[in-house]
Point group: C2
Chain length 360, copies 2
């Protein structure tokens, strides 16, 4: 079967050249006589793969030297607990922005470890916007400020970085990391599950300012102590080696494409195609405030939601898959991560226009 | 380059037919138009892969119905913390058998959560044997008894299951799970990192008796609460989907081969080739007590250890890789997991004989 246009929110599409290379190298990586899956994580072959992946990620995001890059396991959901375990540093409270489904999950988990102050919220608007800077009520005694910089389900993206003074800013950037340049120095810590813009599920990347490590709660499992993993180059135990290898191929693909500035141009163009259409038609609409619309996750609705099922059925037949919105919010959602080509978005747009003509 | 004979301790060899199938399906799994890496973990395709993997594992190990099978992340090293977090259940202490490098690591981590009673130890014999049942000093008030049922580095394997009465027995079976049939009902919990006999690093399998779940310490990250994951079919967050898929292919390979009874016969034959040789020659020796020698990890020494470097160099040239013993113990080690064919062990034996003739 030809490859489908996969609009799933994650695990999501990967660049086809990456998959092709992975398939070609599956039984013998670079004449080593081994699959990357079969390599010792402490052998020279994998050490080289790991070091290259970290170097490329550092280059792509211009990560300052005083930040550690960790390749961990457990997903962003593990970080919901691991962030407070590492960053409370003896304090009893943290600030959280409540901006959608995933920040809600992060907050619920954080409440098991500390007092949570909701520093900003868009709950009053059904999570359809990003709270403006002047609405944030920050607590100077907070251990950190947590934000979900792109809400995968609600489709709300921060296109700016909140100012949090001396309190370190922590971002769950899972669903938009590497979609554009990022001023890492504005953050104390950035984490991201790999399965959207990085690689296979099972890998979690943590970028953490060095001075914030080393004061983990005694209950922190050692493999989740940032300091322990930083000192061991993420190898206090066996890391998810194959996932790191695939991530490394994705980083190389991004570099060949021209890096994150170029990637951003492409992502802006893709998202614009869809949002411009929503703003012209009466048939579909975007529930998200114009200034805060995500370039990665594009939720949309049919004004006549009785047509939802038919829309999804016909889309599936046309090779446009996983367009159903998350069960928590309903409607439709097109996730158009880095790996989604413009032609895929164009195919979706063509289908939507055709569907509108037929049913509008 | 032809595929090497890879004697690495893990991540380790995988069955070649598994790698071939993974390569062939990389861009399009079963006509889905997607790689398994690109599938939603909640989509029908991956749900089927996941369910089949669990069903096959249950069949291979004859896992009783009152045990949950969890596909987690973090490695066995995460379980060193997660086991006490889940199984202490309000108690303040646990029994541990100290039988080598990995039980030592498990004990060090457990001490961060509870009092550890060393119920049995082979430290007096430099971890060269498995302490006999009558040497165990069990504490009836212990929350559980922990053993490392195969010590990957020391090459000591329990070929019997200790009797622990009403106190649940917990085994780190990472390096010999699936190498032979196992009476799961004798254990409260069995855990294993995948990267030896199961699949890629980044997947951890936990088989846990249902009544032991549900009393996790409040500090347990939710993704590591056995009850939470059991109720969510290991999907309270996105699991390591691709690693689960590869593990599923390995399970099918094992079933086609004839299951674990047949696998055990093959493993006995492979290990016997090496150990019989060590017991005949004066040139090499096994440091492990005859009754407790591991069928999976075979440490051995040259009587003249000045030849070690030359041995490893020539072995590497002959396509026999990763024979160097762990840095903690030195010497040599041949890991001969399920995926290592008899022909690979024969090739090693031929090389060792030749080396002995030249240097003996």
């Amino acid at each position: 079967m030809p490859r489908v246009h996969n609009f799933g929110a994650g695990p999501a599409m990967l660049p086809e050249p990456v998959l092709q290379q992975a398939a070609a190298e599956m039984l013998d990586w670079h004449g080593s006589g081994m699959s990357v899956m079969e390599m010792s994580h402490r052998g020279k072959e994998f050490i080289a793969i790991h070091a290259q992946a970290e170097a490329d990620l550092r280059e792509l995001l211009s990560i300052p030297k005083n930040y550690k890059v960790l390749f961990l396991q457990g997903g962003a959901a593990a970080q919901f607990a691991v962030v407070p375990l590492n960053l409370l540093r003896g304090k009893d409270r943290a600030d959280y922005a409540l901006t959608g489904y995933w920040s809600k999950r992060a907050i619920a988990e954080a409440r098991r470890y500390c007092k949570v102050n909701i520093a900003a919220s868009s709950e009053d608007g059904k999570f359809s916007y990003a709270p403006a800077q002047d609405k944030w009520k920050l607590d100077p005694g907070a251990a950190y400020v947590h934000m979900t910089s792109n809400e995968t389900i609600d489709g709300v993206e921060f296109h700016w970085v909140p100012e949090t003074g001396d309190v370190p800013l922590v971002a769950d950037a899972s669903s938009h990391i590497l979609s554009r340049p990022l001023d890492v120095g504005r953050f104390g810590l950035i984490y991201a599950g790999a399965q959207k813009n990085i690689g296979p599920a099972g890998l979690t990347i943590v970028i953490v300012r060095e001075d914030l490590t080393g004061q983990a709660d005694p209950h922190t499992p050692s493999v989740f102590d940032y300091k322990v993993q930083a000192e061991a180059d993420s190898m206090t135990n066996t890391p998810a080696t194959y996932a790191i290898y695939i991530a490394g191929l994705v980083f190389q693909w991004l570099k060949q494409l021209g890096g994150l500035a170029r990637m951003e141009e492409l992502n802006v163009a893709k998202a614009k195609l869809l949002y411009d259409y929503f703003d012209q038609t009466e048939f579909y609409y975007s529930p998200v405030a114009k200034s805060d619309r995500s370039r990665m996750n594009v939720p949309f609705r049919l004004r006549n939601d009785k047509l939802d099922t038919e829309f999804l059925k016909q889309a599936e037949s046309a090779g446009l898959t996983q367009l159903k919105g998350h069960r928590a919010v309903g409607g439709m959602r097109a996730s158009i991560y880095n790996a989604m080509p413009l032609s895929g978005v164009q195919a979706l747009l063509d289908f939507m226009r055709q569907f509108e003509r037929k049913h509008g």
